[in-house]
């Protein structure tokens, strides 16, 4: 998927073939000269595909022949002025068999169409043969004004396309051949992005940005930094999340960004089967060393561990969110009593590293004199991540190593995810209807289960759910109220938010997505859900 574009396959041979009124199908010119003979391409066995019956003309044909693939667009021009009332020709491009001929195909088709028109208008090709055999009354044909040489055309096509992947060849005063070959990319439609995904740019977007870009795209660009999720980006740039997703899809299509997850200290990561690459591909380990190291003088690891704070873990997973929000003065969105939010004084510092991260491809200058973490250390750290512990726990276990080696945890994780050394273990809250504490809610949940099994679409389910909810809330007024107060102790969950939550639970969405939808931290969401009923977490 992520294979880098490696240039276009060269053209092996171009030849021009016509149907001669007396000699039949034949090759008129080829470039490089005598290439067909040299590579043992027998024209006689393929001539029926090169100059085919009219049914196949004006269609793009490709034929496999030996180890070659012939791509052509045969043209048949009928006119009473020709000796046989028609004139057939074809520009045939030969490639080696196993190559992508796709980029050339539209160009070849266009070339054929163009010469069809030119031939119809001025008989440029038939006249260039300088023989009267093609015409009914050959003596009257005036060959004087044809300076056009097909041989030259083939040569220039071949050379320019192979060397520059484009060409501009004038034919006469009014016409010229313009070809530029573009790589064919897969259509972007199937990319499924959801709002909790974090785009991470792998090229320097600032350098390729163009004023003519879509306004939404321009507005979201500054926030694509590998930290902000799509929800976050849409809030920060004040754009619709769907538009943001659309933009990100485009960036993915052009291979400018990749999708990662939200970094939180409550995340779980585990090594993937590609962790071997860290050992076997020296570039990965090398890049990792310089990528994950903190800039000299960074104090981030000197900060006290979250757990040492009186108000424990509660918000530590919000670190990065808090960071990004404090940085962009987008403070209303997240509460940041978090211990790490104190980092805000060093946030400036951190910001510089994040921007570095967005242009990850280009390595920063090796920091003079700074000791990089050894590969062994990094390997051991990656290895020690596992299904059973959160980044937070892992960080505590390895705190001294991380501190000594000046490792930026976020970048360390990010690097692993990007290179697929490790992967994010997503967490899904699953609620079974049996385990509800509150009878009210269990009723509600039961209804939901019925709906889910009977395959009713979600929007229908929503409506019913809403009506049920409304009814129930009227009837069992005080119980509901109690519950309400229980849930909404510090955070008042609005009606719509509740629906979001119920739907998310119904659809078995991941914690990340629920958190993004509700704009709450995982801990908050967890406690809300646990107040609704018992749930289980599935890590996958």
């Amino acid at each position: 998927m992520n294979t880098q574009f490696e240039g276009f396959e060269p053209i092996h041979t171009i030849f021009f073939s016509i149907f001669h009124p007396t000699e039949g199908s034949k090759v008129c010119y080829q470039f490089p000269p005598e290439n067909l003979q040299a590579y043992n391409i027998n024209f006689d066995s393929i001539k029926n595909f090169v100059i085919p019956k009219p049914q196949l003309c004006h269609r793009l044909l490709t034929l496999e022949y030996k180890n070659y693939r012939l791509v052509s667009y045969p043209v048949n021009v009928s006119s009473s002025s020709y000796a046989r009332n028609f004139f057939s020709f074809n520009f045939v491009f030969i490639f080696s068999y196993d190559c992508q001929t796709l980029p050339y195909e539209p160009a070849i088709e266009r070339l054929g169409k163009m010469f069809k028109t030119l031939e119809e208008q001025s008989q440029i090709l038939s006249k260039s043969q300088r023989t009267s055999a093609f015409f009914k009354d050959g003596e009257d044909v005036d060959f004087v004004d044809t300076k056009f040489s097909i041989q030259d055309l083939l040569m220039r096509l071949y050379q320019d396309l192979n060397n520059y992947s484009e060409c501009l060849i004038p034919i006469d005063e009014g016409n010229e051949i313009n070809i530029k070959i573009f790589p064919v990319l897969k259509p972007p439609t199937s990319v499924q992005i959801s709002i909790e995904d974090v785009p991470l740019s792998i090229v320097n977007l600032d350098k390729i940005v163009d004023l003519n870009w879509d306004p939404t795209m321009l507005s979201i660009l500054p926030f694509i930094d590998g930290v902000n999720s799509i929800t976050n980006i849409s809030h920060l740039s004040d754009s619709d999340p769907n538009l943001v997703i659309e933009c990100i899809k485009h960036l993915i299509y052009y291979n400018c960004v990749i999708i990662t997850d939200i970094f939180q200290f409550s995340n779980i990561y585990a090594p993937s089967s590609l962790i071997n690459n860290f050992l076997r591909d020296p570039m990965i380990a090398f890049n990792c060393q310089s990528y994950v190291v903190l800039p000299p003088g960074s104090k981030i690891n000197d900060l006290p561990l979250a757990s040492e704070q009186d108000d424990e873990i509660n918000n530590s997973d919000m670190t990065q969110k808090a960071l990004s929000s404090s940085r962009s003065s987008f403070s209303s969105y997240f509460s940041h009593k978090s211990a790490y939010a104190r980092v805000s004084e060093t946030a400036h510092h951190h910001q510089s590293t994040s921007t570095l991260s967005s242009s990850e491809g280009q390595q920063d200058n090796p920091r003079q004199g700074q000791v990089l973490p050894s590969k062994c250390t990094l390997f051991d750290l990656y290895r020690s991540l596992n299904y059973g512990c959160t980044v937070e726990a892992w960080y505590k276990q390895n705190f001294s190593t991380i501190k000594e080696n000046h490792i930026d945890v976020r970048k360390f994780i990010k690097f692993g995810v990007i290179n697929k050394i490790i992967y994010r273990v997503h967490q899904y809250p699953i609620m079974e209807h049996k385990t509800f504490k509150s009878p009210l809610l269990s009723d509600r949940q039961n209804d939901k289960i019925v709906l889910s099994t009977s395959d009713i679409k979600f929007d229908v389910g929503d409506r019913i759910l809403n009506s049920i909810y409304n009814k129930l809330s009227k009837v069992t007024f005080d119980r509901d109220k109690k519950l309400e107060s229980k849930i909404g102790n510090s955070r008042n969950l609005g009606e719509s938010e509740k629906n979001i939550l119920f739907n998310a639970l119904e659809r078995h969405e991941s914690f990340d997505r629920i958190c993004s939808k509700l704009g709450k931290s995982k801990n908050e969401v967890e406690s809300i859900i646990s107040e609704i009923g018992e749930y289980m977490t599935i890590n996958s």
Partner: protein, 851 residues
């Protein structure tokens, strides 16, 4: 984009032959517009997801469908208008089954049920003496699960054969003489290429339409296969040997075929005369075609999206086109099978057009065509085979087709549903319930087909020849024992209910004579007894018992081919024998959003007495509680085994059942342990000292010098380091200068030692106490260099002999790629020994855990 999804983009197939009177298309299928065929495929994918869920409920309907079909086939009036009526009702029934909603359908459903019972009676009546056919029919029905899901109506004729009726619907039908917009004569023309293009891959695309085939032409001296003998020896010899073996069974099946055709005749009372007539004429005409046909070409037509073009075309060619064509060439050379069949088809078409009353009475061209197709299909096995092939490929199923009377081949485009590395499923859709594992089933199948090429073909089974014919013959000589990756060390996990598999198994062998074959008996036994917790080796007794043979390579090979057969037919997966002592985790590629609601119900049905699916999944997630405990007290150390979630000894059996269910559905994958050897500084120093003592070293002076050099180097920039890394990356990650130092000194010892990166340069103080944790990892212990070997030996030098012994046995698996769970099985090492080894060599072994 959708490259992991099994969509073949296959439109159809046609058979072109070239005779002295020029090329002509003998048979083409389906006679439908390309838009319709493609729409069908897309639907089929969407519904495939719900296959399991719906298959049970649709079973009844399926039977109905087939009953109706027999009904209509044998109806004397054979007016197609009546037919479409019954079609409608089944269609509605389908819908009501697959989506249980709404009341209107409910009613139609009931009505169709009423109709069915009468149909059943009728069927019993018509089929009373065709028992073989009956079983065939019911089996076909099984196979058609999916088809009904996609709401296409199925009709199976007397031969246990079906084709898709909707291709003949008025709106979908295209002119019989047109092939995807081209005149068929014209297509025939360009599908009969010049001699030079024959006997090799033929691929011709017109705009988006790709004609893909392998035209087979006689050589100049009139032989079908001679010119290619050199190239295809292996394949041919294999098929030859098959033919010999299958000879005997072929006679039997031939006789059964006779009875079948007589049945057919009974079912078509008005066609009796035709059959006789044809029998008389056949001999004359056959000779004619035999002499004249100089080329045949099974040409598939497909329409893949541009970006997937190469993959789809290559897949189809590799798995279907080439295999089918080469097999047919073999039969043509042997007994003119293709030309015989061609003449049958041509004859039959002529007969129908000329004499058939039903053809005349058919009003529309589509109905007429249907008439022709029905008759051709009832007569020609080649036509049946091509039709079935296309129909099955449309549904991504395995086409198991009878070639001639004596051979069955099975073709499929493998489904990509297992991944070794985590796929980027946000960007590339993958099939739901895919597997994520290092134990790739594909590898076994590929290895089998590969190793079969030079040997006999018995293991080629999956590629072309089914078990029935291929198992017995095997000529002993074998290098399997040397291969460390023997399938017999693994276990098989059946992917479906045992009874379901047994039923489908009968279908694939097609006729009853063969299902009584000794191989079938073995296979049935195996399926009945097999447990995912037990390695295949343990089932060897089934074969020796059944065949009454002494254990030998032959018997082991039979077991192997049985296993491969089951994998190939998607009945089973190869796994490491399940055990409650292993660790299992929730697979990262499951999509709860898509699968959970359905599977939750399934799970409850399957295990009514156990907690919910989510309970098990969360337990296998490392569970919330376990995270907490590790935070507080760290009582259970991750990774913990499956044992930990089994509440009591009595529950073990059922919990393992649950586990196998979870693995089967792709929910859970085994967390495997991979091991590397790490060589730390102490070992290196020790080895260094040994070397010195042995007198290789010229003196301490040099070493000191070396150190000085190192020290002076240590502040070099990283940029240089990069170069050094490039030089040095082949086997080790050299993390410390010490390794480099030893390497340098070893240059004198071992001149060939390629490890010595002489430009290695260091940015760590080598005698820095902090650097104690730096080490070298040996990536390939089997190919270790001299110095690496010394290091490795040093690691175990102080261990007791039993540990040394275990270590040496396992040494070759310490490459980070071979799971320990498997290595212990292969080397017969107990878990206890392994534990001991790990405990005593803790410092020298690096453990990795992934799938």
């Amino acid at each position: 984009m959708d490259e992991f999804l099994p969509i073949s983009y296959l439109l159809g197939v046609h058979l072109t032959i070239s005779t002295h009177s020029g090329p002509q298309i003998v048979y083409s299928y389906p006679p439908s517009s390309s838009e319709y065929i493609l729409s069908l495929q897309n639907v089929s994918y969407k519904f495939a997801k719900r296959k399991d869920q719906a298959s049970k409920s649709t079973r009844k309907v399926k039977e109905n469908a087939s009953v109706i079909s027999t009904d209509s086939d044998s109806s004397f009036s054979s007016s197609s208008s009546g037919l479409s009526g019954s079609e409608m009702s089944t269609d509605y029934a389908d819908e009501s089954f697959s989506s249980d909603e709404g009341n209107d359908e409910e009613i139609t459903h009931d009505m169709s049920n009423l109709g069915i019972s009468t149909d059943k009676l009728f069927r019993l009546f018509t089929n009373e003496n065709g028992n073989a056919d009956e079983s065939d029919n019911s089996d076909e029905i099984d196979n058609s699960d999916l088809e009904l899901d996609i709401k296409s109506k199925l009709f199976s004729d007397e031969d246990g054969f079906e084709f898709n009726e909707t291709f003949f619907d008025e709106e979908n039908y295209r002119d019989y003489n047109k092939l995807f917009g081209f005149d068929s004569e014209f297509v025939a023309e360009f599908c009969c290429p010049d001699r030079e293009l024959c006997n090799s891959r033929f691929e011709f695309t017109v705009d988006d339409l790709c004609f893909l085939g392998l035209p087979i032409r006689r050589d100049a001296s009139g032989y079908w296969r001679k010119s290619k003998r050199k190239k295809h020896t292996s394949k041919k010899s294999s098929s030859l040997s098959h033919a010999k073996v299958t000879r005997s069974s072929s006679n039997r099946s031939e006789s059964s075929k006779r009875t079948q055709s007589s049945n057919t005749a009974k079912a078509y009372p008005n066609s009796n005369s035709d059959v006789e007539q044809e029998n008389n004429e056949e001999s004359l005409d056959k000779d004619d075609l035999e002499r004249n046909m100089n080329m045949f070409h099974i040409c598939f037509v497909l329409n893949p999206p541009l970006t997937e073009y190469n993959k789809r075309a290559d897949d189809l060619y590799q798995y279907i086109v080439a295999r089918l064509s080469i097999l047919l060439r073999y039969f043509q050379a042997k007994n003119n099978y293709v030309s015989k069949e061609c003449s049958i088809i041509l004859k039959e078409r002529e007969n129908v057009v000329k004499y058939s009353k039903s053809y005349e009475s058919a009003l529309t061209p589509a109905a007429k065509a249907k008439c022709v197709y029905e008759r051709i299909l009832s007569k020609s096995s080649l036509a049946r085979m091509l039709t079935k092939c296309v129909d099955k490929l449309h549904k991504n199923e395995i086409a198991s087709i009878k070639v001639g009377d004596d051979k069955i081949i099975s073709l499929q485009i493998p489904v990509k549903n297992e991944f070794e590395h985590l796929p980027n499923f946000k960007q590339n859709a993958i099939l739901p319930n895919s597997y994520l594992t290092s134990i790739l089933n594909k590898k076994f199948l590929e290895k089998a087909s590969f190793s079969s090429a030079p040997h006999s073909s018995s293991r080629k089974l999956h590629s072309s020849i089914t078990l029935g014919n291929s198992l017995i013959l095997h000529d002993g000589d074998d290098d399997y024992d040397n291969e460390d990756d023997d399938i017999l060390n693994y276990a098989l996990l059946l992917l479906d209910d045992v009874n379901n598999i047994l039923r489908t198994l009968e279908t694939t062998t097609m006729n009853s004579t063969e299902s009584n074959d000794i191989n079938m008996i073995i296979l049935r036994h195996l399926i009945k007894h097999i447990q995912p917790t037990v390695p295949l080796n343990s089932y060897h007794y089934i074969i020796t018992d059944a065949l009454d043979l002494e254990p030998s390579t032959v018997t082991y090979d039979i077991l192997r081919s049985c296993a491969l057969h089951l994998i190939y037919w998607r009945h089973a997966r190869v796994i490491i024998p399940m055990s409650s002592k292993f660790t299992y985790v929730v697979s990262p590629i499951i999509s709860l959003e898509k699968m959970y609601n359905v599977d939750k119900v399934q799970f409850k049905k399957r295990f009514p007495s156990l907690p919910t699916l989510s309970y098990f999944l969360s337990k296998l997630s490392g569970g919330k509680s376990s995270i907490n405990t590790s935070k507080d007290g760290d009582d259970i150390k991750w990774p913990y085994s499956f044992n930990n979630i089994i509440p009591s000894r009595e529950h073990k059996g059922i919990y393992l059942d649950v586990l196998s269910w979870l693995i089967r559905r792709g929910y859970v994958t085994q967390l495997l342990t991979f091991v590397y050897i790490r060589i730390d500084k102490r070992i290196k120093i020790a080895v260094d000292e040994d070397l010195e003592r042995e007198g290789y070293r010229r003196g301490k002076m040099q070493k000191l010098q070396m150190r000085k050099i190192n020290k002076s180097n240590r502040s070099t920039k990283i940029g240089d380091n990069q170069i050094a890394q490039k030089v040095d990356h082949r086997t080790n990650i050299e993390n410390d200068n010490l390794a480099a130092a030893t390497d340098k000194s070893n240059l004198e010892i071992n001149k060939n030692d390629p490890i010595t990166g002489s430009t290695e340069d260091i940015h760590f103080e080598f005698d820095d106490p902090e650097m104690r944790q730096d080490y070298t990892i040996i990536l390939e212990p089997e190919r270790a260099t001299a110095i690496e070997k010394r290091w490795i030996h040093k690691c175990v030098s102080e261990q007791p002999p039993d540990i040394k012994n275990t270590f040496n046995k396992l040494l070759k698996y310490f490459n980070g790629r071979a799971p320990m769970e498997l290595a212990t099985l292969q080397e017969g090492i107990s878990r206890h020994e392994l534990k001991r080894l790990f405990a005593s060599l803790d410092k020298h072994l690096v453990e990795l855990h992934h799938w």
